[in-house]
């Protein structure tokens, strides 16, 4: 077993544990933090089903962003849906035999890289060129885009220019998943690509990428507009205040 294989095997286990563990911890925090008051942005749906539809629109067509700015919407959508297709295509490296639908999306997933890269380029262009967006950008905001672009570009290189030993790579990943390690191909582009992916996995739970779980917990989007019909009581700390206030009033 080469040092390369051992290093990357360990790194992937660590990165996966970090990604899953710390993201789960954040989700736990979001879930247990109360939303004491009804604050949906109105007009808001008056039923749970309506809220599900609202969330679905936000998640799939980025409805609010569309209302806001067509360029940001276009680039953001290209990036996210390119990424989704690319990630789904990558399932073929983790499944044996490859699922039929993953085989089906293979060509779309391949070219979605360009969608992803075009979206990222557009977003970075706005970040650099629009004075308002430049003002609100921290170094990490630029580096995040650079990281994603580098991951996409090295991936595209391997898909379209210089193939890596994909059979060996697949057995490396299957080996990781079944705890029977096999060698990782010694290929510079691949090493860069995977290193950056590991970095992204490590950063995810500590960065703005938390918007992915966060949106599901956003009270302005996920609350039903029915405060008059149903009394909303969601937080222990408010009921404590209430009982202390009512007792003071009685005295």
């Amino acid at each position: 077993m080469s040092a390369l294989t051992i290093t990357f095997a360990i790194l992937f286990y660590l990165a996966t544990a970090c990604l899953v563990g710390f993201t789960a911890r954040k989700i736990w925090i979001y879930a247990k933090t109360p939303a004491p008051l009804k604050i949906p942005i109105t007009p808001a749906p008056t039923t749970r089903r309506g809220v599900a539809f609202r969330m679905l629109k936000e998640l799939t067509i980025f409805e609010s962003l569309f209302k806001s700015n067509k360029w940001t919407w276009l680039f953001g959508w290209l990036f996210h849906f390119g990424l989704l297709l690319v990630l789904l295509r990558h399932l073929r490296y983790f499944t044996d035999p490859v699922w039929a639908w993953v085989v089906f999306i293979q060509p779309f997933g391949k070219y979605a890289t360009f969608m992803l890269l075009a979206g990222l380029a557009g977003l970075w262009g706005r970040r650099l060129l629009v004075d308002r967006v430049r003002y609100i950008s921290a170094p990490s905001d630029h580096l995040m885009l650079l990281l994603l672009i580098a991951i996409g570009a090295t991936g595209a290189l391997m898909t379209f220019v210089k193939h890596t030993d994909i059979v060996a790579l697949k057995s490396f990943f299957i080996g990781l998943m079944t705890f029977s390690w096999s060698a990782m191909p010694n290929d510079l582009i691949l090493i860069v690509h995977l290193s950056l992916v590991i970095l992204l996995m490590l950063i995810f739970p500590f960065s703005k990428l938390l918007h992915a779980p966060g949106i599901f917990f956003s009270p302005t989007l996920n609350q039903v507009d029915n405060p008059r019909e149903r009394r909303h009581v969601a937080a222990d700390w408010t009921t404590k205040i209430e009982s202390s206030m009512k007792s003071t009033r009685a005295s």
């Binding site: 806001s68 609100i136 921290a138 500590f206 703005k208 938390l210 009270p219 405060p227 408010t238 206030m245």
Partner: protein
């Protein structure tokens, strides 16, 4: 105090997104609350010695209390969707008035003390220590947010800057740096019962005067009852309705509606205020104390319904929060919404044909309607989403023959704040108020030029006060802002005393008129 000289922004034909001018509004800051005002609300009298430590502890506490805050501090990706949506940014060009930049004043401190990335790599992720400079920035710019929620409509995650500015104000109050205007008002409302500090005898006196005025004008004795036990409706209305123009004309309108519909009603001298400034400073406790006064008044007077007058933030607290803060209201008549908006009452009566209206009495006006921010984006009327847009418009169209909407980006869910909401309606912030009104003024000017609009109706006490004040800066006259129920008041045809005619006779009289 010398109020800084400033130029009123120029009204352009089309809205233009301004280029950044850093720190041009850094000097804008309201008066600080004196010790006496602070202590009344349970806050320290002045900036405490260990304020940094206490502020950071408070931030940690708020993260655990409000899911919105915790999620919004983590989730912003700095996409820039909100950057051109705030009326204060559009009116001032100060980048810290872009919603995301305003949030970042708070977020950078959150990152520094509560996130691993901010603890390890502050420069990289834009995290900063909580310094005196930061506190000064907070005081300035969190008092340049009217909590109108327009930015939130356009945020892909629904991040609401109002939630963050409320938290920031609560942290500042906790360390002894409160705002005079809000905290003075909350104190008055909690002790006297209304924001103006109008005691019961003065209130009774004012309303008696009003009764005489209306009788003189119409020949009909329309009542303005206070503390009448057993009335059906308790009316909770902003105290500005008792004396300010054009608010008072709205109050007359409510009274005429109740009179004609033969609904007995009363005001309460104990809870003579609809507006709840506790929300502006993010203080759940203070907000709840004010809400409980309303509950108490309703119990004491034995009413069956609670109706709210025209007031924007008040309607948010009433519609969205009252049931949580002071409910359950199982002692009220469950056949009516609890609470109900006066527009819902009037609209319902119009639909049932219980009001006799002559819209031609408003023929001297071409009217447009300003959706108040907190009615539009933080509440509802009626039983369908968007009722808060349709119901007021349907009322206006029923009482007025000439109605025009302002451009679509400036109304309904995209409406611009008047520039004075969220606890900023104070003379020490006049420059901010004038500049913040710019987007609304541009939208208004476009319909004035194109359709000859003469008046703008609103259903919020703050909007009405704000526009009466800033209209002259933009060459409108202050009486061009009117109460929605002022239009109703003009159009309603009252029966002279002793005339026992009902429904059908009313109609024939209108036709005869």
């Amino acid at each position: 105090m010398a109020v800084a000289e400033f130029d009123t922004p120029e009204l352009k034909e089309y809205p233009v997104i301004p280029h950044l001018q850093k720190d041009v509004m850094a000097h804008s800051r309201p008066f600080e609350a004196k010790a006496e005002l602070q202590e009344k609300l349970g806050f320290p009298g002045g900036l405490i010695d260990n304020w940094q430590q206490v502020a950071i502890e408070k931030m940690g506490e708020l993260n655990k209390k409000y899911r919105s805050l915790q999620v919004y501090l983590d989730s912003c990706v700095k996409c820039g969707a909100c950057t051109d949506k705030c009326h204060y940014y559009l009116g001032t060009s100060d980048p810290k008035n872009m919603p995301v930049a305003r949030q970042d004043l708070y977020r950078k401190i959150y990152r520094r003390y509560f996130t691993i990335s901010g603890k390890l790599f502050p420069k990289l992720v834009g995290a900063e220590d909580l310094t005196e400079e930061v506190l000064e920035d907070w005081y300035s710019y969190f008092h340049q947010c009217s909590q109108c929620r327009r930015c939130s409509v356009y945020c892909p995650y629904g991040i609401d800057t109002a939630e963050i500015s409320m938290a920031a104000r609560e942290v500042m109050d906790t360390v002894g740096k409160g705002q005079k205007y809000c905290n003075e008002i909350i104190g008055k409302a909690q002790t006297i019962g209304n924001n103006l500090g109008l005691p019961e005898p003065a209130l009774v006196n004012t309303l008696e005067g009003l009764e005489e005025d209306v009788e003189e004008e119409t020949g009909v004795k329309v009542r303005f009852p206070v503390d009448e036990k057993g009335a059906e409706v308790l009316l909770i209305t902003p105290s500005a309705d008792f004396f300010a123009e054009p608010h008072i004309d709205g109050l007359i309108g409510y009274a005429k509606v109740f009179h004609q519909a033969k609904i007995s009603w009363t005001l309460s001298s104990f809870a003579s205020e609809a507006a709840n400034f506790g929300m502006f400073i993010g203080s759940y406790e203070n907000m709840q104390k004010l809400a409980l006064r309303i509950r108490q008044a309703a119990i004491d007077l034995g009413v069956k319904r609670i109706v709210f007058g025209e007031c924007g933030h008040a309607w948010r607290v009433a519609y969205s929060f009252l049931n949580t803060l002071a409910g359950p209201f199982d002692f009220l008549d469950q056949n009516y919404p609890i609470p109900q908006h006066i527009c819902e009452v009037t609209h319902g009566l119009i639909e049932e044909g219980k009001l006799t209206l002559d819209p031609s009495r408003n023929d001297d006006m071409v009217v447009t309607y300003h959706d108040s921010c907190n009615v539009a984006r933080a509440s509802r009327m009626g039983d369908k989403p968007g009722g808060q847009f349709e119901i007021p418009r349907e009322i206006i169209k029923a009482v007025c023959n000439h109605y025009v909407d302002m451009p679509s980006h400036s109304i309904k869910e995209g409406t611009y704040c008047c520039g004075g909401g969220g606890g900023l309606l104070t003379d020490d912030l006049i420059e901010l108020r004038v500049k913040g009104a710019l987007p609304r003024m541009e939208a208004l000017k476009s319909v004035v030029d194109e359709y000859g609009v003469t008046h703008m109706a609103a259903i919020c006490a703050i909007c009405k006060s704000q526009f009466s004040k800033v209209f002259p800066y933009y060459n409108f006259s202050m009486d061009q802002i009117i109460s929605l129920h002022q239009l109703v008041s003009n159009a309603i045809v009252l029966q002279p005393e002793g005339n026992s005619s009902e429904g059908s006779d009313d109609e024939s009289q209108v036709e005869a008129a």
